[in-house]
Symmetry: C2
Subunit: 381 residues, 2 copies
Amino acid sequence: MAYIVLDVDKNNRFLAACRGETVDRVPVWFMRQAGRSLPEYREIRGVGSILEILTDPELSAKITLQPVERHGVDAAVLYSDIVVPLKAFHVDVDIVQGVGPVVSEPVRTKNDLAKLIDKKSDPDFESLNETVSIVSKKAEVPLIGFAGGPFTVACYLVDGRPSKNWSETRKLFITEPELFGQLLDYLCDISFESAKKQIQSGASAIQIFDSWIGSLSRKEYLEIVMPHTALLFRRLAKLNVPLIYFGLGTAEILDLMALSGPDVISVDHQVPLGLAWERISKSWENNNVSEFAIDAVSQHLPKAIQGNLNPLNCLVGWKYLEPLALDVLKEGMALRTGMERESSGNSSAGYIFNLGHGVLPETNPDNLTKIVELIKREGIY
Amino acid sequence: MAYIVLDVDKNNRFLAACRGETVDRVPVWFMRQAGRSLPEYREIRGVGSILEILTDPELSAKITLQPVERHGVDAAVLYSDIVVPLKAFHVDVDIVQGVGPVVSEPVRTKNDLAKLIDKKSDPDFESLNETVSIVSKKAEVPLIGFAGGPFTVACYLVDGRPSKNWSETRKLFITEPELFGQLLDYLCDISFESAKKQIQSGASAIQIFDSWIGSLSRKEYLEIVMPHTALLFRRLAKLNVPLIYFGLGTAEILDLMALSGPDVISVDHQVPLGLAWERISKSWENNNVSEFAIDAVSQHLPKAIQGNLNPLNCLVGWKYLEPLALDVLKEGMALRTGMERESSGNSSAGYIFNLGHGVLPETNPDNLTKIVELIKREGIY
């Protein structure tokens, strides 16, 4: 069977791949492509908190566009942070340089949660809307908006600051599962509202960053988190843009993430892309779905996979990095062969080249530019 | 078919389980059971470095025996550290409180390695031998000695101190694979010599702590690490004690770890025990072993599995912890059902209850004692 190559212009390649459609070549972008690894960012960044920069839409838009101009990636991703929507809902959170998100009052009791819910009105999304609007007008590629996965934002709220093991969060979901569920409900609302605003202002896709779900066992993800993420994805699906779901160390829960309802799963470098897709595409086969709460299972499986070059591998010279990037690209491109071999849509996958996690600050940006050139050369179907 | 219960005395239960033999009940011990979580340890610990304590065999032996007396576990594990054998071979390494192992001169060049190899003679194992000898005479349960996995000790030597992502180590094995291989050879020798001394002084089993191998992809483990660990296990096998192999985040490489040749694999809390054993027992089936360097594949597969309660779960009250510990116990005990159902030895497993990683310092030791009581009550076959 011959390839059916759609007439995909560069504005559409990334979005088409997210939908599992046939495209002319593999699209590429990098998580955390905007910001810390770029000298032109450090030049204009100043000394304030990221949250201050984010109140300046012109500056935020400029930072968002820098990597698109420099690397020639196929998508822009909003320069922001997953705790920004909390800030919009009047939660006292700061992003401390060298530390990360810090909340002034960690949320660990009914009373703490009640206080959050009390403040949950009249969100201030003005700067965010404005930034998204500027970028989506200027960029020649689609803009990916984003929001935090409810579990991961809960980690910051409950532990109060970045933690090696999120022990306070774990204590809370073990000892107060109902309260924890209410917190996740609240956070789903926050993430949904933020994503909706981004789409209304011009974002063409949404990535849900749920970085820390890999710290959960299958049973924990299934019982504690999945009922909430599944509802979040169901609500987001009505907004009609591709939805990407990302977490770290998720090899053992990829099938459950798939059943939560995203269009694309972004996998880290710990699992080969082929194996990851096998697990995703067999989500229905390998789970007794009737055992799940009915609300927690999506009607459709993902259509594409994104990933998964180890960002640490970008720290070496190009001659060492090139074969490693090429290996990942070939694995990703092979996922479409499945599409041609088998009639079932589930056995094939769209593919988007990315890292397994965010670009590290110490990365030589030339390496990223060279990866994009490599994909444009070797990623043609 | 009826159970064949061997006449296992308490001194032998742990060792018999390691060999996959039928035992009266599940044996239990905890990684890091000696030391930091015990008040009686903090009382006698003093303010010096752990390395100073380790020069005092009477004190080290006492610390090793404390958890055996308090919790009634089925095995003692030497109070020591994986960098201690480096110290014995005259490497300038310290264990800094609140930081971890720090080496004065990180090893990143041929010249650095040559210096290490130059010093590699007349090791000083006197205190270690003496400690092991005291413990193995006093303890009523077997003593587990230990050594570092070559990759994990290399991480400390190359990065120079604990790191979030071991980026220097990764840079070295990507850009200088031959040099890195020579470093692993050196470290295999060091670990082998240390383990041999411990066995000669009375240790009844050896656990190889290779904590950071989970940061490697399958291909990286297979090509870079496995040829060395496989040779290490082959050499250790001649010493005729059970060999346990531990790493964190190893769900995707359990089959390769199995082919390295240990008797027991210790798995972390990210993978259910049943699934872990499935991957281990299908190591031959699921790999084209003829593709491996012939020296890198063991002739026998593991006979037992150890794990895997999340140590973070020990931070909550007993009423919450008990059902979580019981779940793990039941999963582990079910592995023997496989042994009875199927004729092939590979489909069944001995089982040793443990955590998925070390006891956390802030753990209430009463929780650990209660886990041991639970195993003694509910872990009877």
